[in-house]
């Protein structure tokens, strides 16, 4: 029994040695100083928020770069690497959504909400929900518009889901890639004070698309003016989030390039919403002849319903 017991203890020793020797298991040791630094960084941010807009992102940016680089310490072929992109709690996701829907002028979405913890949960699931919201709402709105027509037969048009998915995912991933590449290129030429990592840009774009989900559902209402008002309203909200995020990154550049970049960002955003409205939702004012109603004095009446 003594030999058995010593054998067991020896096994425990070996296990402890293995754990100590394995660097991958101890990502905790790297996170702790980053967290401590993040706390100080957060406190300093509390103070700087009182001050002018121009101080947003002045001396925080290089620290943010460092933190963004240090967090992902696991090698990219392990599962833990991708888990760092989903390190958010429910209340954090809800806060970020709230921040994208109610943009406060002067507050930078990235500084305020993301704070070097960009997540992929929000962008991915908001895009997925938006794909299905647009496809389903488009289908429903067409159904209600054509409801009176005798010759109309409902078809689900499932192909449109794939088209919606391709468009929205392409927008949410390729446009941030292009924008990030452009910003990195300009950063090489002009020393920019604020620069964002690729994931932070994906995060901002993903969360800014959230406002389109209730907009798409409300687009079921078959009224042209209502739809355009809704579209302009949501474009303003999400566009302002994007503008307030990226303006500090380009304003140190030449005036022309800065304005051109902002213009391109807003233009692409507007193109997405106009395109979705035009393609998935039929025009609400469809003239269809109402059957002839005989009036009581015998003359027949044909009315066109708008």
């Amino acid at each position: 029994v003594a030999s058995l017991v010593t054998c067991l203890f020896a096994e425990f020793d070996d296990a402890a040695n293995l754990l100590a020797a394995n660097p991958d298991a101890t990502t905790i040791s790297i996170d702790e100083p980053a967290e401590a630094r993040e706390n100080q960084h957060g406190r300093r941010q509390e103070l700087s928020r009182e001050e002018d807009d121009e101080l947003l992102g002045t001396d925080d940016s290089d620290k943010t770069e460092l933190l963004a680089g240090q967090k992902k310490s696991a090698p990219f072929w392990t599962f833990e690497y991708y888990q760092t992109f989903f390190d958010v709690d429910t209340y954090q996701v809800l806060d970020r959504i709230k921040g994208s829907v109610f943009p406060v002028p002067g507050r930078n979405f990235v500084r305020l909400y993301i704070r070097s913890n960009p997540d992929l949960y929000g962008p991915f699931w908001i895009c997925t929900t938006l794909v299905f919201a647009i496809a389903i709402s488009g289908n429903l709105s067409n159904f209600f518009i054509h409801l009176g027509r005798p010759a109309y037969r409902y078809v689900p048009k499932f192909r449109k889901v794939s088209i919606a998915a391709a468009t929205i995912y392409a927008y949410a991933w390729l446009v941030p890639l292009a924008l990030w590449g452009f910003l990195v290129w300009r950063n090489g030429k002009v020393m920019n004070i604020v620069s964002y990592s690729f994931l932070e840009i994906v995060c901002v774009y993903g969360y800014s698309l959230f406002i389109y989900i209730p907009t798409a559902i409300l687009w079921i209402i078959p009224h042209k003016v209502v739809r355009w008002v809704l579209m302009i309203f949501s474009l303003c909200l999400s566009g302002s989030v994007l503008v307030m995020t990226f303006w500090p990154a380009v304003r140190d550049d030449s005036r022309r390039i800065a304005l051109a970049t902002m213009g391109a960002v807003i233009l692409l955003h507007a193109l997405l919403s106009v395109g979705c409205l035009a393609y998935f939702f039929d025009a609400p004012e469809v003239d269809f002849p109402v059957p002839i109603i005989p009036a009581h004095n015998g003359t027949s009446l044909v009315t066109k319903v708008k």
């Binding site: 029994v1 003594a2 017991v5 599962f79 991708y82 888990q83 992109f85 989903f86 958010v88 709690d89 429910t90 209340y91 996701v93 949960y121 699931w125 997925t128 929900t129 299905f132 389903i136 289908n139 037969r153 409902y154 078809v155 689900p156 048009k157 499932f158 192909r159």
Partner: protein, 230 residues
């Protein structure tokens, strides 16, 4: 019958248990019965020689037991421990088959094709499982696939009911009945799967895990509800 005596050769004292010491020469008696005879020990563990009917019936019984667990979700761990993917496969294929034969003016405008339904269900389940694991869930990959697949059962029942209602008539009354049935089954599916999966999710993130499951069953319910026959 065997009996044996264990002799301890010297005192053993455990560190921290100074009060306990085991004296020498403790007789330990026991009984071990080794069945000798026609049975060889391997036959108890291998199922190679059993009749085929027994093999199939055993798997069918396991699948049937899980169906009952889904219809009356009681938070038992049987579904999680012995996962299998037969049930989800059967349900997926039958749902995809029942969604065929819809009306369409052209190939483009119809309902989902067989392959599309298949891909949505399996790819959707894989994405939800990955999402749950990335958020820090402790459930294994195939266990989660198994639960999500089995919880499609209420929606398959709803599809069957819808097709029967559509055989009778396609009026507004039929539509309202289909809507009520599909809504009820959608709620059942979502609640059943969250009942099974909720415990393995990290705290403060349960809503983040439950929402994709809600979306998944919502899309399947939408496909069922918008099915229009020829």
């Amino acid at each position: 019958r065997f009996s044996f005596v264990l002799k301890v050769s010297h005192n053993v004292q455990f560190a921290g248990l100074a009060d306990v010491s085991i004296s020498e020469d403790i007789p330990v008696e026991g009984e071990i019965t080794v069945p000798v005879g026609s049975h060889s020990p391997e036959e108890d563990y291998s199922t190679l020689d059993e009749p085929v009917r027994e093999t199939i019936l055993r798997d069918l019984k396991a699948v049937g037991k899980k169906f009952i667990h889904v219809m009356y979700p009681k938070k038992s761990s049987a579904l999680l421990r012995d996962w299998d993917l037969w049930g989800p496969l059967v349900l997926c294929v039958s749902l995809a088959l029942m969604l065929q034969g819809g009306s369409a003016d052209s190939k483009e405008d119809g309902g989902p094709q067989f392959a599309e339904v298949f891909v949505i269900i399996w790819f959707g389940a894989v994405v939800i499982t990955l999402n749950s694991k990335l958020l820090g869930g402790t459930i294994s990959f195939f266990q989660s696939l198994c639960v999500l697949g089995y919880c499609v059962l209420p929606l398959t029942v709803a599809m069957l009911v819808c097709r029967l209602v559509l055989l009778v008539g396609t009026g507004t009354g039929g539509f309202v009945l289909r809507l009520v049935v599909v809504l009820a089954m959608f709620a059942w599916s979502t609640l059943a799967s969250t009942a099974f999966l909720a415990d393995s999710q990290p705290p403060h993130r349960k809503a983040l895990v439950v929402y994709p499951i809600f979306l998944f069953y919502f899309v399947i319910s939408w496909m069922i509800l918008t099915f229009t026959p020829q």
